[in-house]
């Protein structure tokens, strides 16, 4: 089966400073991959390059076999990107927002309307469908943005810190949505600071620092990497990233 995402020797420099350095990373189709790293490790920069928002300095990006640098439109058509700050319009309501996003991804109007209704009901936003986003709580905004990311049924869903600022109930709902997505065969990549989330949800975890991949694997593989001193993912994470976090 084709891998969902393959990054080869990916580099991005800002004013001579490397944000991502020779990053090689592979995400398999149908898995939930958690990208961990301290602040400034290059997680968001990596995802922004995959989403087509930043041009890499060098390297290649392949999304389900499509060269994202050569044919960005084709790669974008099967990808969704949800940053930590929801990309919403204050004066639109969720239905209008989903109509716009569906239009951008070329979803047929009739299909999009049905899908929007389904998503809003699934995410518990149906009753709020006529309310403008400006009055929404952080969690509701996050869920609206998530609905927008799912409206075109992407094969690859990328989320940057999707649980930041959510209360326990909302966070649980978002986690359920992501796991359901993977159960249905979708691929999810998320970045998070909450190591417990990665530990519980992710099929595989990648730890990056200084734009380089330090370790990768499932929980057992990572524990083995850390040796006896790494009892939990948190221990291993701190062990690997210690110089930067002290």
């Amino acid at each position: 089966m084709t891998d969902a995402l393959v990054l080869s020797r990916l580099n991005k420099t800002f004013g001579g400073k490397a944000a991502v350095a020779d990053l090689d990373l592979t995400v398999r189709s149908g898995e939930l991959y958690a990208l961990l790293g301290p602040n400034g490790a290059g997680k968001t920069t990596t995802l922004r390059m995959v989403a087509g928002l930043l041009a890499p300095t060098s390297g290649s990006i392949s999304v389900f076999g499509i060269d994202a640098l050569r044919d960005p439109a084709a790669a974008k058509a099967i990808t969704a990107w949800a940053p930590d700050e929801p990309m919403l319009y204050d004066r639109l309501n969720p239905m209008e927002y989903l109509e716009f996003v569906a239009g951008l991804w070329g979803v047929d109007g009739k299909t999009a309307r049905a899908k929007a209704e389904e998503l809003l009901k699934w995410l518990g936003l149906w009753e709020e469908r006529a309310q403008r986003c400006e009055g929404f709580s952080r969690g509701m905004k996050q869920k609206t943005a998530l609905a927008g990311a799912l409206i075109h049924d992407p094969k690859l869903l990328m989320l940057d810190e999707p649980l930041t600022g959510l209360d326990a109930a909302m966070a649980r709902q978002v986690k359920d949505v992501l796991q359901e997505r993977v159960r249905q065969g979708g691929t999810v990549i998320l970045t998070t600071h909450i190591l417990e989330v990665a530990e519980r949800m992710a099929d595989r975890i990648g730890i990056i620092q200084g734009g380089r991949l330090l370790a990768e694997g499932n929980l057992e593989e990572l524990r083995a990497l850390g040796g006896r001193s790494a009892a939990s993912l948190e221990d291993l994470f701190l062990q690997l990233t210690e110089p930067a976090t002290v």
């Binding site: 319009y89 204050d90 004066r91 309307r113 009055g135």
Partner: protein, 512 residues
């Protein structure tokens, strides 16, 4: 330097925030240069006036001087109230750091007094600037007591700030949070426009065809043929501005007293209103039947932009002000066109073309450059050209809707002129829209009130191209072949200013 929580300490905080806001403005170097040039010109005029006043002294205070002074103050005060009303509504709804300040143990009345004093200062600063350039040289060269103009201006600023606060609070009580926001913005625009409209009344009420009709009524008063009956104390402001101690004390005392009375009396209520205003937009809207979704990126983007445009009453009313300013001209045009004036119809067609360009420039500036989620657009597979085209049409449609009626009216009098006006208006609107696309500078919609109607770099090219198209429209409507010259020049200027998609992207990556 100051005790934390004291009024000077709060004032310093306000000042710092204002300065930081100014530093964010990338156009500050250009603006600074213009300000220096303007101040130089003012000082030169001031020195000239100072030398004249030193030789001749000030003219005696007679009813005509008093009337002119009071009229100038009335115009100035109306503009100040218009600004303070808009800013009071902004304080109420945009809040900035108001939540932080209100959550501190500093009394709300103190916080609001400082904030509204800041508003008073900001609406006065333009007039202070002019007065400073003109008055300082006269004061130095001839009459030091003229410096009293500065405290009089500041006092008027305080009074207008109090009026803005009072009006906002009354509207809030009467209409509730949501309607207040809209009405305050619309009222503010109307107060500003009404000054202009009232100033044009004589032109509308008198026969414009004769020189006497236009200026005669003023001349009668100016030459003393008609006597002015002014109410008692009408000279108070003039005497205060000339530095007479008692009138000066009365003006400063009344304005300051009104300011303190309103801010201290309404401070707590305003703070409560501000708390209610938070989330007022979240008040429930009925969920009606949702219609069919737009098909395709172009239709979806067009629909989204039109929705956002019509829902931003403040920005929309700012743009519509331009139509208000054209109203007196339209009245004159309609009255004289019906009487068969030979050049008025082509003139009207040219004015319509110019207005269409201005309106389109403002609308497309909003639809193209006010984008809250640029990342969403870039992350989508839709080509940027499709999105931009939809944004252009979202700016063109309301423009065409606004000019279509006058064009039809012109067409009834003269089908040829109507057709030329339609072509001219469309070309002008299209060219302004394209210029806004080529030189777009995206930013958050919420920042747009601060950023003005259009990018400062674009003002001159838009006026140039719009002027050329208006000129071509005029000549074509008058059935003159010379119309080709400005039309070709407009086309050349537009093509010279054209940017490719690649250049636009480059520019977006390195904004000025």
């Amino acid at each position: 330097m100051f005790r934390a929580g004291s009024i000077p300490w709060l004032a310093l905080h306000e000042l710092r925030m204002v300065l930081r806001e100014m530093q964010r403005d990338k156009a500050r170097v250009f603006q600074l240069v213009m300000l220096v040039v303007f101040m130089g010109a003012l000082l030169a005029c001031g020195v000239g006036l100072g030398l004249v006043v030193r030789e001749t002294g000030l003219p005696p205070i007679d009813p005509r001087v008093i009337a002119v002074t009071d009229l100038v103050v009335l115009v100035m005060f109306s503009i100040m109230v218009s600004s303070t009303l808009a800013r009071a509504a902004q304080v109420l709804y945009l809040r900035d750091d108001l939540d932080l300040l209100f959550s501190s143990p500093i009394p709300a009345r103190k916080i609001l007094a400082v904030r509204f004093a800041g508003i008073a200062f900001s609406v006065t600063i333009f007039w202070l600037f002019i007065a400073f350039g003109l008055v300082i040289p006269i004061a130095v060269l001839a009459m030091p007591q003229l410096l009293a103009i500065l405290p009089v201006l500041l006092s008027l600023g305080l009074l207008s700030s109090a009026a803005g606060l009072l009006l906002t609070t009354v509207l809030f009580r009467l209409l509730g949070p949501r309607r207040t926001r809209v009405l305050a913005q619309v009222l503010s625009a109307l107060i500003g426009a009404s000054v202009f409209l009232v100033s044009q009344l004589p032109r509308l009420l008198n026969n414009v065809d004769t020189d006497y009709g236009r200026w005669g009524w003023i001349r009668d008063y100016a030459t003393g043929e008609k006597h002015l009956d002014l109410p008692p104390q009408a000279d108070l402001l003039l005497r205060a501005a000339l530095g007479e101690p008692i009138p000066l004390l009365i003006v400063v005392g009344v304005c300051l007293g009104a300011f303190l009375l309103v801010t201290q009396g309404l401070g707590r209520r305003f703070a409560r209103d501000a708390a209610i205003a938070v989330g007022s937009d979240a008040s429930k809207r009925k969920a009606g039947k949702t219609g069919a979704f737009a098909a395709g990126a172009f239709a979806a983007t067009l629909r989204k932009e039109l929705r956002l445009l019509f829902r931003d009453i403040a920005l929309f009313s700012q743009v519509l002000l331009r139509v208000f300013y054209m109203l007196p001209l339209a009245f004159v045009f309609v009255r004289n066109a019906s009487s068969g004036h030979s050049l008025l119809l082509p003139g009207g067609a040219a004015a319509l073309a110019l207005m269409a360009g201005q309106l389109s420039s403002s609308f497309t500036w909003i639809t193209v450059s006010a984008e809250d989620s640029p990342d969403l657009l870039v992350a989508s597979p839709t080509a940027m050209s499709v999105i931009t085209r939809a944004k252009l049409w979202a700016g063109l449609l309301p423009t065409l809707a606004l000019v279509i009626l006058p064009i039809v009216a012109v067409g009834i009098w003269s089908p040829w002129t109507g057709a030329v006006a339609a072509v001219g208006a469309f070309c002008s609107a299209w060219a302004s829209g394209m210029l806004n696309i080529w030189y777009q500078r995206p930013g958050r919609r919420a920042d747009f009130r601060r950023r003005g109607n259009v990018h400062w770099l674009l003002v001159i090219p838009i006026l140039l191209v719009g002027g050329l198209i208006a000129g071509a429209t005029f000549l074509a409507a008058a059935q003159m072949l010379w119309a080709i010259v400005p039309a070709v020049l407009a086309a050349v200027a537009t093509l010279a200013l054209r940017r490719t998609d690649k250049q636009i992207l480059e520019r977006l990556r390195t904004p000025d």
